[in-house]
């Protein structure tokens, strides 16, 4: 892997409490340039809260987040998007009745130049369609005639493709993917894993949240293991086995007692 050691996205000492429940408990987080970082953890470990904090969907009580070394304070997912952090949500956040291009540009539509755009607010439909087409083609997701198709007429994997293409097209710093293969069949999952590799090949780091260990071990450069609200270990697919990762994640193994490779066959 061509992962250099520059940290793009970092968090230190993040805390989020809901009443008596501590969802995030002084956790750290590091994402290097150009890598795929998987985040794994049991249900209730606080993965979702961490991801929400990183994508702007929740505001942490304590701790700091930096992007390219600069401290940032998200108040909403819009702030994160404005800084080039795109999230592929588990529910995809697409509007079924709108077409593919409309969905890709939803919330950031382009207007025509000149008076048509400034006074009459006219959308640059052709420009957006052409660019949507180009982006989909880049990710190998397209036969050209059907960019005007409503998203509801697509299969689950195709919708995922649209959501990933949208994120990849607009992300300048980080792509976050929340359970991108959870609802997909074998072949569709394969295609999404390829998309993740394509996004990395474009030089964008990817944060992948997944319960699917084979998928995680296949595409991730590093694996952030989350337990009881904090990061308890970082492992690599070539130093740890799936069994070890799962054991650390569930508390059956203490990561400090079992250094890399101890359980490798």
């Amino acid at each position: 892997m061509t992962t250099d050691k520059r940290i793009v996205f970092q968090a230190r000492g993040l805390v989020k409490r809901y009443g008596h429940v501590t969802a995030i408990d002084h956790t750290d987080f590091d994402l290097y340039a150009g890598e795929v970082l998987a985040i794994i953890g049991d249900n209730g470990a606080g993965k979702s809260s961490l991801i929400k904090a990183l994508s702007g969907a929740l505001v942490p009580d304590e701790g700091e987040i930096t992007l390219d070394g600069k401290p940032i304070h998200f108040k909403s997912p819009m702030d994160a998007r404005a800084l080039g952090i795109e999230t592929v949500y588990q529910n995809l956040a697409v509007s079924p009745s709108l077409d593919i291009a409309d969905n890709m540009f939803l919330g950031r539509e382009r207007r025509r130049p000149g008076i048509l755009g400034s006074v009459f607010r006219m959308l640059d439909k052709k420009g957006m369609h052409d660019e949507a087409k180009a982006k989909l083609a880049e990710l190998g997701l397209l036969t050209i005639q059907n960019i005007n198709q409503a998203v509801e007429t697509l299969s689950g994997g195709q919708r995922q493709g649209v959501a990933v293409a949208r994120a990849a097209a607009f992300a300048r710093h980080v792509v976050i993917m929340d359970e991108p293969t959870a609802a997909l069949g074998v072949k569709e999952s394969r295609r999404v894993l390829n998309l993740i590799n394509d996004v990395r090949a474009k030089g964008l780091p990817v944060i992948l949240i997944s319960h699917n260990m084979p998928h995680v071990f296949e595409v991730a450069d590093r694996i952030h293991i989350h337990r009881l609200g904090k990061r308890i270990a970082i492992v690599k697919p070539d130093t740890h086995t799936m069994s070890e990762a799962v054991a650390i994640m569930t508390g059956a193994l203490n990561p400090e007692d079992h250094p890399a490779g101890a359980y490798a066959a």
């Binding site: 956040a93 009745s97 006219m122 989909l136 997701l141 059907n146 074998v186 086995t241 799962v246």
Partner: protein, 358 residues
């Protein structure tokens, strides 16, 4: 527990099997389709198609039954005049229904703002242009109140507008003191309020400025829905508000704008109402609420939001107008007109359920 080596082998194996099965993923290719599927796709893509076909069929039917009297330009323009008020209210209703809401207060807002326009001109003595503007602003405020209750207090639009329907209607009775302003009084001081009822004759057809205003509004709102980001956001908000929010749309602002625009449109409908009946009556337009919903539904806009077209509503209003007019000319009792409209609503919703399926 499996060892990672085994797991990897299994992954490769089961995927190989799947790949061997062939077929494409995410190539956006249309599969082979039957005629019924094609028809379904067509209606799905063009929601205005179904009500247009119904309208053409109705016109053909009444032409063959009644003949010349029905097809007379004067009669056809009369139908247009008869649907003008419902058409304008239907535009407002379409916008609300596209956001998965419903507005039961449109009729009450129309009557209230017509009374405000009339009294401002006749009782207060303001210039008629100012009276008209105050009425339009009042319409916007009623929409703002509905929108505030829907977005800020998270109340269902049905309940909000059921409440404001009664409130606005009560305010209307209070402000008007239940008195009608006569047509002659309006003519004397505020002829502008009657402008919408003024007609021009073309080839025997009598087109009122109100009807032309309605057609103009349809074009303006069509443009806004089809060619601006606001329009896309209206559809997205009605389609799936959570997704729309995650995609960066401030859905509360979209909803608010829709309710305010709807309120102003209701006030424009009030202007058309004054032009059509001449006087300003606090009892006018009682059935307008439900008639506007009828036009939207027959026009193929889904009550579940996010699906439909503005011109569908025009077609829906015209379908109702043509049926009422045609049945009346054929000498059919009024009660059978109501019966027919009721049947049309049910058929339209049934067709919508079919079309909505993907």
């Amino acid at each position: 527990m499996t060892t990672p080596q085994n797991a990897k082998v299994q992954t490769a194996d089961h995927e190989k099997v799947a790949n061997a099965a062939g077929g494409d993923f995410a190539t956006f290719k249309g599969a082979q389709v039957s005629v019924a599927d094609r028809l379904h796709q067509f209606f799905h893509k063009y929601p205005v198609a179904a009500p247009t076909i119904v309208l053409l069929a109705a016109i053909a039917m009444f032409s063959s039954i009644i003949g010349g009297r029905f097809l007379d330009p004067f009669n056809l323009s009369l139908i247009l005049q008869q649907v003008t008020i419902i058409g304008v209210l239907g535009i407002a209703q379409t916008l609300i229904i596209l956001t998965a809401g419903i507005d039961l207060s449109v009729g009450a807002v129309m009557v209230l703002t017509s009374v405000i326009m009339g009294r401002m001109a006749v009782e207060v003595g303001l210039p008629s242009g100012a009276a008209l503007c105050i009425g339009l602003i009042a319409g916007g405020i009623t929409g703002w109140i509905n929108g505030l209750l829907v977005t800020r207090f998270r109340l269902p639009p049905f309940i909000v507008t059921l409440g404001t329907w009664n409130i606005f209607f009560a305010l209307n009775l209070w402000y008007s003191q239940s008195e009608t302003i006569r047509s002659q009084e309006i003519d004397a001081v505020a002829p502008l309020l009657h402008w919408t009822g003024t007609a021009i004759d073309i080839f025997g057809a009598r087109l009122t400025y109100g009807s032309l205003l309605m057609l103009g509004l349809f074009v303006v709102i069509w443009y806004a829905l089809k060619w601006t980001a606001w329009g896309k956001h209206v559809y997205a908000t009605g389609d799936d508000p959570d997704s729309a929010k995650l995609a960066g749309i401030r859905t509360d602002r979209v909803l608010m704008s829709v309710y305010v625009v709807a309120g102003v449109l209701c006030a424009i409908a009030a202007w058309v109402l004054i032009g059509r009946i001449g006087s300003v009556s606090p009892q006018a337009g009682m059935m307008a609420n439900l008639d506007s919903i009828t036009a939207v539904v027959i026009g193929g806009t889904s009550l579940f939001g996010g699906r439909g077209s503005i011109f569908g509503t025009l077609m829906g209003a015209l379908v109702v107008g043509v049926f009422r007019n045609g049945l009346a000319l054929a000498g059919v009792d009024v009660l059978w007109q109501e019966f027919t409209v009721g049947a049309l609503i049910i058929v339209a919703v049934g067709v919508d359920q079919w079309i909505r399926k993907v």
